[in-house]
Amino acid sequence: MGIFLEYTVNAVQTGLLLFIISSGLTLSFGLMRVINMAHGSFYMVGAFLGLQIALISGSFLLGLAGAAIGSALTGLLAEKVLFQRIYARGPFAQVLVSFGLIFVFDELVRILWGGEIRSMPRPTLLSDSFEFAGAHLEAYRLFLIAFGGVLSGLLLWSLVRTPFGMMVRAAVDDRESAELLGMDVRRLFSFVFLLGSGVAGMAGFVAIPLVNAFPGMGDEVLISALVVVVMGGLGSVLGSLVASMLIGLALTLGQIFVAGYAPVAMYLVLAIVLLVSPNGLLGKAE
């Protein structure tokens, strides 16, 4: 029983972290059909900025805030300077430019912070672990679940309930009509990009105590995030959530039963989902 609970905690935590990383990618993909390969870089930028602020201030919360604001602004800057110029140019230009951006960010981080792997201890309040129902539970992983849960809830709620969310959904569903109705989709998109980068940056920061920060850390999560976006259905945030949880579960099951090939579990689930539903879990046919 204890071991089952531990595995469940691991799976849920992996899934939720994956969701907050990929939610921004889902929205930008769904909204503007823009393929942003550099999304993982915002995850990395958030991690490094947050780490620096946390080290200076000694405060985890300040670090988290710094990660969110810093990566959001970096995302906004990239959108205004680069992406706005390539929306009309189709997927090839977008992939090339954003792929190039990965190298720019990796190298910038290397110049600013050096190439070594950096870590951060868990905040004192969350550094404990305890026994519960025969399971060994780490407070920090439970915090990640709570953090991911609240953030996901807020995101879904704001998409369903707020005027902003309604505009986003309208624009994802039918961009032309939304524009005809007088919505400024470009500005809306800038805001979504800012939000998505900020959330990814927070994910990067809270992930440091588990997987550390190093130049190139974003490349590792990019692939999983792309899988989530495709599996969930382009533009569907709820679909991404379901997809992330499925992948978390698949990776955990994979690590238990076929550890050496666990990453394959992710693609296996993707393949099955796409065979059954070619538009992803909750995506609409184009």
Binding site: I3, E6, Y7, N10, Q13, T14, G115, E116, I117, R118, S119, P121, R122, S127, S129, H136, E138, Y140, R141, P209, L210, V211, N212, F214, G216, D219, E220, T252, Q255, I256, A259, G260, Y261, A262, P263
Partner: protein, 396 residues
Amino acid sequence: MNVTRFQIPHRMVAISAIVMSSLTAHAAEDLRIGTVLSFSQVMGIYGNAIMDGMRLAVEEAGGQVAGRKIVFVSEDDKNDPKVALQLVRRLVKDEKVDFLVGPVGSHIVQAIREDVHRSKTFLLVANAGNDEVTRELCSPYIIRTSFSNWQWNYPLGEYAGSTGKRAAVVASNFVAGKQMAAAFRAGFESKGGKVVEEVWPAMGTADFSNVFTGLRAKESELDIVWSFIPGSGTVNYVNQYAQAKLKPINMGPQSNADDYFFGAMQDNAVGVIGSGHYVVSMDTPRNRAFVASFQKKYRRMPAAVDVQGYDSARIIIEAVKKLNGQLSDKKAVRQAMLDVNVDSPRGYFKIDPSNGNVIQNIYITKVVKKVGGYSHEILRTLEKVKDPDQSCKLEW
């Protein structure tokens, strides 16, 4: 927009100037060292370290040997055997390098072995510990300056057998993980130990929580958890092992709690038992001098991988010096590389003429916390460890 159009011809001129200068430089008989190393992803840190070590040796030699300027042709093999193979082909055919240095990964050296052998270009293996490359797949053109997977882990297994009886092995699921685990098991079982659990996480695994959950279920049966997780993953492994508060001794090659990672591991590394061929704290005049000049150049402490790069370049430099820059007689080149005194910071260093693998001391170590940082304390020294395997048949 017009500005960009005007700039293009200038850039083209600049690029062609660079191309021309590199072409003319080639004509002047430089000593060209091609590297097949990983500079990115999980193994990136090792590729950069090997380059740092080599550059220091070249600098100490005044940038040249026997009148030939030393130049590196280095590119990223991306830890991918296919990329590495193409890189080797290009380096020997188009770039016409005199020596190859690399690779980092055991799976890479296996992939390029055949092409290296056929190209008759000498390869100095500066990291990859793949046992087979100095056993059944050995070649007179391959010399290893680093270590073999057996060399680290068999002695560690023997040591482990004297401290505990039941162990789990956790290793990245690729050729080095398999070989190291097998060598550890052989040494451990020779002293009456028993491996009761095996886990093979995929290469690139970042979160080991499920591995530790699985181990916890068997915790009461275990004295030791031996592991080998290369690259950035090992930091996560060691940190998460400590945070999971597992009781068995955390043990593995010294690269697990490598000097590079102390900053990121902090107290989590304390107590980790390792096995390796170089400890930066070794108090010999040669090592003190090496550490001082390394620190002066790079403003960081060297570690084993830096020494591997350094010694690889040192063998090349000393051999070329001995041959007065004449490298056409391949047998003479190999003999020179076997004969030269490298004066390695690690201490005893000799290339085994029968298989090309390095003979060296192996140190069993434990990470301790000291004023100003962490270091590997030597628990046991095994002198002049030589791979006893006899399956190498050198064929030119």
